[in-house]
Symmetry: C2
Subunit: 155 residues, 2 copies
């Protein structure tokens, strides 16, 4: 299951989920644009990659579409390495809102990896708006798709 | 004068300083690598730009040298626009420490611009370590150099 926690003292959301995959495969699922577009976001939403350069110092932009409505997201990759991705993240509907996201791939052994995602924003108001935005459904649906892709060998 | 404030409730440092310059000139001083290298950092320190691509989605790396000791800094530019720069910032001596920095150029009219810098990190410990690191001297010296470059027309 996906665990989502709001830090009591910091404007941070922490998300944890275990996957039946090595860190390498989980990193690939987050850095290969075609794979990423296939699992990210809630069911019924289709994602189109507009720009993608998944390396330290690169950047990205993607658009998610549902029922004709488009939601665009963009940011830069501060660092990509085997156990960690650090990137910025903005929903263009709120262009001055920026999150600093850190994804860590913790190898638990036996083919299981724990994904730790930390999302840091500049205020508790922004943080709580994210928590109320339906992000939980998007994450759960997306990670379930990713699990199926790991199970059937797509990743 | 430079005003440096630690937010009481958030892991944020806010720095404010007025300059006798338009926002355009102040933006140029922060995005042109040759100009930036001439003013950033404390007196007696020399800065060498290693990599610099000052546009939305670009990245940078520079090395500051004093008495043979080198301090390297790097990050990516989340956004650059006339009134705002958002970038990540890491001192490579603490490679997993990442700050999300927002610089705003507020036009006060009459040829004066207020620079608002906000630096957001993931813990109060990191924030307070920055405050204890001598950043105040570095900022004051650097901004004094920048003021001289604005006054003599270098920028």
């Amino acid at each position: 299951m996906t665990r989502i926690e709001a830090d009591p003292a910091l404007p941070i959301i922490r998300i944890t989920r275990d996957f039946r995959a090595t860190p390498e495969r989980l990193l690939r699922a987050h850095t290969d644009p075609e794979l990423y577009a296939r699992w990210v976001g809630p069911d019924g939403m289709h994602t189109r990659i507009e720009q993608w350069d998944a390396r330290t110092g690169g950047s990205y932009r993607f658009v998610s579409v549902r029922d004709g409505a488009e939601y665009a997201f963009r940011g830069c990759f501060h660092e990509i390495r085997p156990d960690r991705i650090v990137r910025t993240f903005t929903w263009e509907g709120d262009p001055d809102g920026v999150a600093l996201e850190t994804l860590r791939f913790e190898d638990l052994g036996g083919g299981t990896t724990r994904l730790h995602t930390q999302s840091l924003v500049e205020s508790f108001e922004s943080r709580d708006a994210w928590l109320r935005s339906g992000m939980e459904t998007g994450l759960d649906d997306g990670y379930a798709k990713l699990e199926r892709m790991l199970a059937d060998g797509t990743v």
